[in-house]
Assembly symmetry: C2
């Protein structure tokens, strides 16, 4: 059941981060949320850093899984980007999906120690490759990805960059940009 418990702890940590705020993401709080003892948490994750690392890894895994799932039924050019947009932005501000919940962990990791982002950094070459070969103009493709990142991080932080109507229009346009090549000249 080791795998099970580890996953349970990661989910609990994500819940704590969202519900009580990152400043209350203590090992004790995680243990309580997971319904086990603090010692039990340390049995599975040797340190808080290790737990954070596990959460970042989980975020990466879930994101890639969602992209793959979306690509499975969309074989046209730009499908990777459309999957990525979905994965990042499907969560409404209130009702966070798993990606949204783990995103808070991502923030914590980045704030505490950027080396904790290693699992994310490792995947960047592969993501760049996917974007550059997605079948549309690479520069435009990167911009779509960056805009999705920007919207995502602002969501996670709660910065109100767009109202609902603008948000819908932006997402629609981003998806259009994965289909139609609007490169100047």
């Amino acid at each position: 059941m080791a795998r099970d418990t580890k996953a349970k702890i990661i989910a609990a940590a994500a819940n704590v981060a969202v519900a009580r705020g990152v400043q209350n993401l203590t090992m004790e709080a995680v243990a309580e949320e997971a319904g086990i003892s603090k010692g039990g948490v340390f049995y599975h994750f040797g340190s808080k850093q290790e737990l954070l690392l596990g959460m970042v890894q989980a975020l990466v895994d879930i994101t890639e899984k969602e992209v793959s799932a979306a690509q499975a039924q969309d074989h046209e050019a730009g499908s990777w980007l459309r999957g990525f947009i979905r994965a990042c932005l499907t969560n409404s501000a209130e009702d966070l999906g798993p990606v949204g919940r783990l995103s808070v962990a991502f923030l914590t990791a980045a704030a505490n120690d950027t080396t904790l982002l290693a699992p994310m950094n490792e995947r960047q070459p592969a993501w760049r490759e996917a974007i550059n070969t997605s079948g549309i103009d690479p520069v435009q493709a990167q911009i779509v990805r960056l805009a999705a990142d920007g919207l995502w991080i602002n969501d996670v932080m709660g910065v109100p960059v767009l109202d609902a109507a603008e948000r819908a229009a932006v997402i629609e346009r981003l998806e259009a940009m994965t289909r139609k090549d609007t490169e100047p000249e």
Copy 2:
């Protein structure tokens, strides 16, 4: 000299955050860096929260100042966005400008307590307005802003989303998008 010392403390805090990492952004370290005592720091900022709030405010102020400066010698459509792109992305990864240094504080604030982002959130309606009335298609304008945000946050976190050549091409394209309306249809 109250204003002076406060500014000095904020700058010191930003330096500490960059140099020693956010986990070492303690009031004592800030005091040492600023060359005053811990008591002195608390005299000026009643709590750590207040200091963090001051740093976020400073980031907002500097960003808006840089945008205004850029706009002063660029009165064509899209000048706000071009100024914003410059303000966010002028800092190379190694040699951070003032925006880059304070950005780390922004991350910390977001991670510790999203209410600390209030000074940033307050300005969003004004920024949205500036973007929507910048003279180019509003949806495209928002996308340019979000992409700049995305590139900026990835820089701050140290996630290698783009290599140097891609980065240059993306920035060039973003600036082009502030000039030429590439809206489909």
